[in-house]
């Protein structure tokens, strides 16, 4: 009787009315808006405390954003051009990170001797920050390929490691059930292993996305191209115009946040069961 009541309770909780869901979304939105306003207020207070002509107020930054949006930068590039190039470089490098990180992580996770035999050659690269590669890439690569390589370096390892450590966590019982029913290796890989480690892969991708953004900005700052948000920020740093630099920072934060939200939504949709665990 007790069990039945519990089950009914759970079922009731699961079928939350649409209006309640909307109400919760509005509340979350409101909380976020308040948090953002608090950050703005703290920033404004900081400008009063610091009182430096080089520490811009939110209002000065907003003005710089409008000016950049309407008139472009001093080099004649629009804000959209800078955003587009940063995103294009990031997308290419990140995609390469996924395309190489996931299969390699799977392969090494499934064939332990392969990982054990190559670990000493592979792992040290993980600890070399992508930024440390910049001087070498200037000598070896040019233009787009330089940025893609650096972003790939940034994104690859989080994705690779997440996949690698995900494989041993696949429930043996799932594999065994499939085997008992006559499933082959390829079938088990497609239908058991990959679906089981997808949450880990997506988690790795979210971490990789953050690293990729950090890398792209540092890479663009190193120079060689005229566009990109990192480049725009350096240009304004050289003109000692801080509000425009902060505009670049805010845009990077906003774009990174938006991309992370996309991945988060995918994760929430694909692995709803994970998100329903609460205390």
């Amino acid at each position: 009787m007790k069990v039945e009541a519990d089950v009914l309770e759970v079922a009731r909780a699961a079928s939350v009315p649409a209006t309640a869901g909307r109400g919760r979304s509005l509340r979350v939105l409101l909380h976020n808006a308040v948090a953002a306003l608090a950050v703005l207020a703290a920033w404004q207070v900081a400008t009063w405390v610091v009182r430096s002509v080089f520490f811009p107020s939110p209002w000065q930054v907003a003005r710089a954003l409008v000016d950049l949006g309407l008139n472009g930068d001093v080099a004649g590039h629009t804000l959209l051009t800078h955003m587009w190039w940063s995103m294009a470089r990031l997308a290419a490098g990140f995609l390469m990170g996924v395309l190489l990180g996931v299969p390699l992580g799977l392969l090494m996770g499934l064939y332990k001797p392969l990982y054990a035999g190559t670990r000493a050659a592979l792992e040290p690269f993980r600890f070399i920050p992508p930024i440390a590669w910049i001087p070498l890439t200037i000598v070896l690569l040019s233009g787009f390929s330089r940025y893609v390589f650096l972003i790939w370096l940034g994104a690859f390892f989080p994705i690779f490691v997440a996949t690698l450590v995900g494989v041993p966590r696949v429930e043996p019982i799932h594999k065994n059930v499939a085997k008992v029913h006559g499933a082959g290796r390829w079938y088990i890989l497609r239908k058991v292993v990959i679906p089981s480690i997808l949450p880990d892969i997506l988690g790795g991708m979210r971490v990789g996305m953050g690293t990729a953004w950090m890398t792209i900005v540092a890479a663009e700052m190193s120079g060689g191209e005229t566009t990109g948000l990192g480049r725009m920020m350096v240009n304004y740093a050289e003109l000692i115009r801080i509000p425009e630099i902060v505009v670049g920072m805010i845009l990077i934060g906003a774009l990174g946040f938006a991309m992370n939200e996309v991945l988060l939504r995918i994760e929430q949709r694909l692995f709803r069961w994970r998100w329903e665990v609460t205390l």
């Binding site: 080089f54 001093v74 000598v139 740093a237």
Partner: protein
Amino acid sequence: MNGNVDRKDARMTSMKRCTVALLVVLVALALPVVGAAQKMTTLRVGDQIGSELDYGPYWIAVEKGYFKEEGLTTVRKTYPNGPATLLDYNKGELDAVMAGFGPFLQAASQGSDYVIVSSITKGNAPLVARPEIRSAKDLNGKRVGTPGLGTIHDTMLTLYEREHGIKVEHVSAKITDLVAMLEKSEVQGILCWETVAATTVRAVKGAHYLAPLPVIPGAESLEVIISRKIAQSQPEVALGFTRALLKGMRYIDKHEDDALRIIARAMNVADALEVAKLAKAQVKITDPYMEPKSAQIIYQALVETKKITTERVKSYDDFMQRFVDYSFLKRAEESLKGWEPKR
């Protein structure tokens, strides 16, 4: 027995006297040294990578002890370019800065305050090109590297384009990376400061000076500033610093070969002397006064390219009036009448 004790006492007394006398002598000798050390003022000076020749007078002043003569010691801090140096200056991390005229104008237009006490370099904006580029027209539509959008060199490239009726893509990068970029044709030319240009000509096969000098005759390049606080509260420090640099300039003028050797030592790179000799033709480091015509052209170019706004610095004359103070230089010149730099 008593006699022994007396002799012992006498010996002890004489030893004590000797020790006291020695101590007195040591203290007497140490006092001026301590006094001098206490009087020494430390100045934190900012400059840029690979610019030892451009700031030659500074290095000569260090090497020949001209700063010490003025009761000054300098602590050098190096930055990738002028604007980066000025950002740190604005935080109060530096007392004096040597950098390009352009960055100084930009900083002033953003609210920075300083006093230009002397010009230090003119010219210093050679255009080095790959072997296949033989004329300005060949550069049309090509990529040309500069050490940054905010540097005087980027402005000089704009003026070069105007002069020759061409359009190039300005590619900004760290100055030391420009050499590698030219070598692998990522850019077809670079417009940068010496001695990086000379190093490039020597290191990259076929690279040559397409335009050794800027398009404006006697183009103003680098200045020396001191913080207004020091200029007002410690004018003797500002005077001493300016005088030491002026002595450095006079030394270069009088003993160029030896000066180049000193600068080459400061460069601390292979073939430094050859590089310094090659680079010297592109720079003038012996004139402490700003070249007004070129300075005005540079100011105008910066306004036109929107690199500076006219909100805080209304005009070129306004800038010269508020930020340039030759009084220290004039006093230094006055005090150095008849002074000859010795090797």
